[in-house]
Amino acid sequence: MATTTTKTEPLIGKRIKRREDPRLITGTATYVDDIQMPGMHHAAIVRSPHAAAKILGINVKPALDLPGVVAVFTGEDTKDVGPVPCGASLPGLRVPHHYILARDRVYFVGHPVAVVVATDRYIARDAADLVEVDYEPLPAVADPEKALAPGAPAVHPEWPDNVAFTYHQEGGDPDKAFAEADVVVKQRIVSQRLIPSAMETRGVVADWRPGDKALTVYDSTQIPHLLRTLLAGALGIPENRVRVVAPEVGGGFGSKLNVYAEDILMGFVAMRIGKPVKWIESRRENFMCTIHGRGHVDYYEIAAKRDGTVLGMKLKLIQDLGAYHQLLTPAIPTLSVLMMPGLYRFKNIKADIVGVFTNCVPTDAYRGAGRPEATHGVERMMDILAAELNMDPAEIRLRNFPEPEEFPFATATGLTYDSGDYAAPLKKALEIIDYPRLRAEQRLARDAGRLMGIGISTYGEICAFGPSPATPAGGWESATVKIEPSGKVTVMTGASPHGQGEETTFAQIAADELGVSIDDVLVLHGDTSVVQYGIGTFGSRATAVGGTAVYFALQELKEKIKRFGAMLLESDDVSVTNGQCICNRTGNAKTLAEIAGASYRAMKLPPNTQPGLVSTYFWEPPNFAFPFGAHIVVTEVDRETGDITIKRYVAVDDCGRIINPLLVAGQVHGGVVQGIGQALCEQAVYDENGQLITGEFTDYAAPRASRVPWIETDHTVTPSPVNPLGVKGVGEAGTIGASPAVVNSVVDALKPLGVRHIDMPMTPEKIWRIINKGTNA
């Protein structure tokens, strides 16, 4: 008979190998495309080749005539399902009706127009080519600033100005601050559109059981429960008859924090054909039709005193929304505004957002979601201010941080930073990199004509989303912990990890709380028929919110264990430790297996106690958590070619208490490399007609191993007071810290040429042009 194994050494803080890895390294994990079902059909989607066009007619007959094709559906067939939901609400927000298949008009290249269903993947693809769509192309606009210009083509004819919303936020007295300032610096800063590029594209398998009137959807998603609720609504099925399973999910980075037309469409198709149906997105579709990130044009002004003390900041933010609102599209730039003061004492701020429709795929949450743009802005502006005042960029930052005793620290944007010692990671990073020696080396390099740069960013981020009133769908997370009759421990979390490793970190938490071996703990997630309701994994929230829910579920469970233990040990002074319930007076103990057995057998029950050992906890966080850190980057620019080489990368992060340093390092590395990607090479490029030029990995430059540096990581640890684990969050930190550090470094390298700012991506050609003209780009 199986029993639990006791252990005494705590696992939190240890470098524990991941428990999910055996299936990944052996190729036996089950991603959506690995699912096969008897009678399963395959769908292929006919998409618009035009960024804007009227649909004059669709002839599906040639496709239907192909043997193996069972159905073709168009917008006429699907007009009563959907729409694709927008979960964000802002005052005055214009929300276009987002049909799951286009009706009389298409709005971006890749817009779904029809779906072909066949017995075989290859036949479905062949048949998609046979659907004849008669388009009348219309003028399109792909650039948000051009979309705002008078006379620009209207993306949605009903709103000729292309403005989806405007949003204003103010704190303190910005006009007074600017009037009193010794110095004001201004800069236009672009955060270009990026393509999230999770290695697994999206995919859906939908299975309709007519007898049960029940739909099961296997979906590569970060939010199975929210998807279930929204799918049920879009398809008109009772929610309790929809099951969503997020199987193994091959990365998301925010792009799978959404409900897409295809999710709803596959449910529709399965119900119509009465057979399971599979749709797997191609990489080209992924680049055309899955959300993009960023897409900002920002106009910054900051006001400061001569000694470098910052006074105020103004921001005009133009957000390229694309043609529609996906789940959170219009909310993303509001996060930028929340974080615009960065880690500094900006007491006076003013921000104006203009959300702009363009004939492009919608933007939405991509790793960092609004915060990388804000951090990039403030960190660039701090360097521009330092240059203006001839101050060292480290010094100007140290001058403007709140002191540790000022926490909780209220920002001018209405946030309360939980805890922090913002100077600590910067000082540590400066020490690791030996800053004075490095600056001396730079002087020598400059004397020798070399372009060497040192860039600093001290980033802060808002994560652990979040208090429910501040989120569109609830910000809590749930956990159920049960001790099985044999004493084994099962954790069911509402978080939905897709690479982050919570099957390991949550097992560490449970093993420590109960004092059992981690091998006795299993963490389940991602299946709405297994897990109580949950919110999902995004916004660096899984450990800080989901892990905390696990922690509180365990506390309740321990209380129940103690009640059974007290009964069995005939003592009222017991504690749970080392996988046992121990009488503190006698030292007599009952193992968890013995207690679990007694609780399920229920021959005798403690007073007012139900049988079984199961506890469910929905934890509502009282605040966000605010990680921070300092990244320092040393670059060298090849004067002849414009090539940038990152010579050193030091990242000192403070993500609060660390559960598993191995996994935290992995998150930092991955995040940093996505930030480096934005800084150096990644960009989604549309031409003037709205055609996506970077439509494949042959043109969209996702960083390769040979182009990224070794990343030296270190930490300071400032526990968050928001949750009892003291954790903050680390999934997005690297991305947020990286892009300004890299750009600041390259601007510093080119400073002798009079360069003050460079927009991303800093391609070799762009740098070469700057070197040759000595101007800003």
Partner: protein, 156 residues
């Protein structure tokens, strides 16, 4: 129209009738049922589909199954032997070389080839060797560590 192919996959013989246009990756995944190799792009860039054909790591999305007729194929599922992982698999586990895991089988097959040809690569050689495999999660650093660890173990 369909043609018969005979080949060996992970030491077992297979014979199937296939359409000439059937890609090797689809053959392995959907006909044979070995879903370890994945499809991450259409343009032979990402390397998620990497398997070994006659001792050489190849992108199985850019090869037709008929081209592999008569070949010996090894996929990630065929690496573990006698109940223990291949040293490259073990190193990916030990060094946290996988996050979402989607690129991992292709990475492992490429790393196996790198180490067969260069048993003790430098960091730069490792990074250049991974040119044909994109990972979006790890920033590659723990993969580099895994290659070093596997090299040390296989050389020992």
């Amino acid at each position: 129209m369909k043609q018969t192919i005979n080949l060996t996959i992970n030491g077992k013989s297979y014979s199937h009738e296939v359409e000439p246009r059937l890609l090797l990756i689809h053959y392995l995944r959907e006909v044979v049922g070995l879903t370890g190799a994945h499809i991450g792009c259409e343009t032979s860039i990402c390397g998620a589909c990497t398997v070994e054909v006659d001792g050489k790591a190849v992108k199985s999305c850019t090869m037709f199954a008929v081209q592999a007729d008569g070949s010996k194929i090894v996929t990630v599922e065929g690496l573990a032997a006698n109940g223990s992982y291949h040293p490259v698999q073990q190193a990916f586990w030990d060094e946290h070389g996988a996050q979402c895991g989607f690129c991992t089988p292709g990475m492992i097959m490429t790393v196996k080839q790198i180490l067969e040809r260069n048993p003790s690569p430098t960091e730069q050689e490792i990074r250049e060797g991974l040119e044909g495999n994109i990972c979006r999660c790890t920033g590659y650093q723990h993969i580099v560590n895994a290659v070093k660890a596997a090299a040390a173990k296989m050389g020992a």
